[in-house]
Amino acid sequence: MSAQPDLLYSEEEEALRAAVRDLLTDRCDPAGVIARTESDAPHDLGVWKALADGMGLAGLLVPEADGGQGATHREAAVVLEELGRSVAPVPYLTSAVVATEALLECGDRELLGRLATGRAVGALAVALHLAPGAAFRTVRVEDGLLHGELTGIADAACADVLLVPGDDGGLYAVEAADATVTGQVSLDLTRPLATVTLDRAPGRRVGDAAAAVPRALRAGAGLLASEQLGVAEWSLTETVRYLKERKQFNRPVGGFQALKHRLAQLWLETVNLRAAARNAAAALASGDDTAVAVAVAQAYAAPAAVRAAEEALQLHAGIGMTWEHPVHLRLKRAKADSIAYGTAGAHRAELADLVDLPAP
């Protein structure tokens, strides 16, 4: 193993965080997000445009020569922390990370440029629950046309380009206009899933799915930990704030030792989660120790973020059970994230091989 990765945030990363947070504070208030989840347009394309076009964040992982920013997963992770905090309904993880990563593997400069500049949203047409090494479904390729149905495709509803694995081993770019995208009723309404149906859809082969899909899912899994960190941080911060303010028994309920200890415990887990998420981002950026770093981050982050959101709901109690209160958005995101790109169990199983702790 090489030198220890840098697990801290640089000044530039902190400045990036501040800018993203300002935007989201302005444009992504809880009431607006909740209202949007049930509208005909669950994705906030205005915020997406501001992030992608205005701030150039869709191209962080793309080299400058291809129209991107030439930054790394470390910066993208910071953006995802903020998006996780606000559960912003934008296709950042799916387009600017997962689809982009697939195209980086394929070396498709034209499409990379479209995604990097935010001119197009991309979605990898692989079900969201699949871990990096898992088998994925393909569609039939016949005379250059694609046939088949794929389910559980995150953010497909707002995608312009779908990256579809074919049964000939190719990864095909399909314009969304040539596919039928049908929304599925999703547990996490801020990252809606869809079914993609292809009926003689024209596709352009951009590369090999066997290489592109695992790389894309690994980047997704690794950076998802930063989003989970954002969800956990929001849950902790907001609960601490509420428990200082909420009075029962003639005192702030945050003063009760039993509750204080639970919040202190959550803080500890959030500290751990941050280290694991930073490590995964650094490993994805450097290419060192990536498989272990990503598996460790997901195995830890998935249950930690769920627990943080669950504790936030319980400690808010009655008000936390209401549709109007934003805590349920975090609970649903955290729970969906615990399945996305592989469950903690799937990542532990992968680790078993990676670190030579074989199953019985």
Binding site: G152, Q248, F249, T322
Partner: protein
């Protein structure tokens, strides 16, 4: 002398002979069953019972079920049966019991519970809904929340503050509120599941005759304890077969969907299966103790275990279902009349179960009850017991 099992079988046979279920409208059969004292046999004669041991109810229920007799749809009237009735029995006047218990039991009148308020959840005794005496009436103003069935209820059990100048526990009085009073406004309260199973209830100059008070003025907190203790038993104390409750759908999914199985999920599911089975046995043991007239302290823990298990099992089930776990059956805003914790899909179960550790006393409050009342540990220092309600921090 109270009836024994043989006597109850004889009376049940008599009821069935006089009112054959096949030829008797359900409402008439239920009224006849109540009149025969076979509604709740441990209740007094004349109020639906025979002063018989509570455990013998099972004898009657088994005979009636075998004969295909209609029941009173207990899920629809759970608050009446589980909370209002025992409180009416313990604190109601003869006239009140005669007026309310029969329509409550037969299901002609649905009851709801006006206890929790936005500012008085765990600290229920701090409630701020005011009741002010005006001649023979009380005039009530305030807001209640988390009220199941309020939109279909005829009556509510209500606690309100009648004296703000004394410490909070001493200034509460218990009433029965007419939900058709024009000052009662019921608004659906949408939950994280998408539906509005509960309501907010706004009380504006609601007039309640003093004859609808339960217990003495200022004694409402003591009366409410009867209601709350029964509520917790009602929530956590259902009799279940093996794999009844939340573990059922998870176990079924496991059996029917081999493709979902992993080593990790297997061990976690088995652990929860064991926990669910043990919780079931604890509940069974508790019921046996109750039947012997030896109520044990385990009752305080039943709802705690029920909430934790429901949450863990449904959480595992969502994860187990993988791709399908990322979906949800329906977010449409609805107002169900029935509460069904295990109905609908895994996502619903997961979200709905989050309420199990909040409703009917949070798990935190119940743990305090176990620690202080069962284990006898000292209470935390309190600053709210000797202060007038009006001077409390809020």
């Amino acid at each position: 002398m109270s009836a024994d099992a043989a006597e109850l079988r004889r009376r049940t046979a008599e009821l069935l002979a006089a009112h054959p279920p096949a030829d008797t409208p359900a409402a008439d059969f239920l009224a006849a069953r109540f009149a025969a004292g076979l509604a709740w046999v441990h209740y007094p004669v004349g109020l639906g019972g025979l002063d018989a041991p509570r455990a013998l109810q099972a004898v009657v229920d088994a005979e009636l079920a075998a004969a295909g007799a209609p029941d009173n749809d207990p899920r629809r009237i759970g608050i009446g049966l589980g909370m209002a009735a025992p409180t009416l029995l313990a604190y109601g006047t003869e006239e009140q019991k005669r007026r309310w218990l029969e329509p409550l039991w037969v299901g002609a009148e649905v009851w709801c519970q006006l206890f929790s308020e936005p500012g008085a959840g765990s600290d229920l005794a701090a409630l701020g809904t005011r009741a002010v005496r005006d001649g023979d009436d009380w005039v009530v103003n305030g807001q209640k929340v988390w009220t199941s069935s309020a939109h279909v209820a005829r009556w509510a059990i209500l606690i309100a503050r009648t004296d703000p100048d004394v410490p909070k526990h001493a200034g509460i009085t218990y009433f029965v509120c007419d939900m058709t009073d024009p000052g009662v406004e019921v608004r659906p309260l949408r939950q994280i599941t998408g539906e509005a199973e509960f309501n907010e209830v706004f009380l504006t100059d609601v007039r309640i005759p003093d004859s609808r008070r339960l217990g003495a003025v200022g004694d409402g907190w003591r009366v409410a304890q009867t209601t709350l203790n029964n509520e917790r038993v009602a929530i956590g104390g259902m009799r279940l077969p093996r794999e009844g409750g939340m573990i059922g759908p998870a176990a079924t999914a496991w059996r029917e969907r081999p493709g979902l199985r992993t080593h990790d999920l297997h061990q976690r599911l088995l652990k929860l299966w064991v926990d669910a089975e043990v919780a079931r046995l604890t509940g069974e043991r508790l019921r046996q103790q109750l039947a012997m007239g030896q109520p044990g302290p385990e009752g305080a823990g039943m709802k705690l275990g029920f909430a934790r298990l429901n949450q863990e099992i449904s959480g595992l089930e969502v994860e187990l279902r993988g791709e399908e776990g990322l979906l949800y059956d329906d977010w449409t805003m609805r107002r169900p009349d029935l509460v069904d914790f295990t109905g609908r899909d895994a996502g619903y179960r997961y979200l709905r179960a989050k309420g199990n550790s909040i409703e009917g006393g949070t798990s935190e409050i119940l743990l305090n009850i176990v620690a202080e009342r069962v284990l006898g540990l000292p209470a935390e220092p309190r600053t709210d017991k000797d202060v007038a309600w009006k001077d409390l921090a809020r």
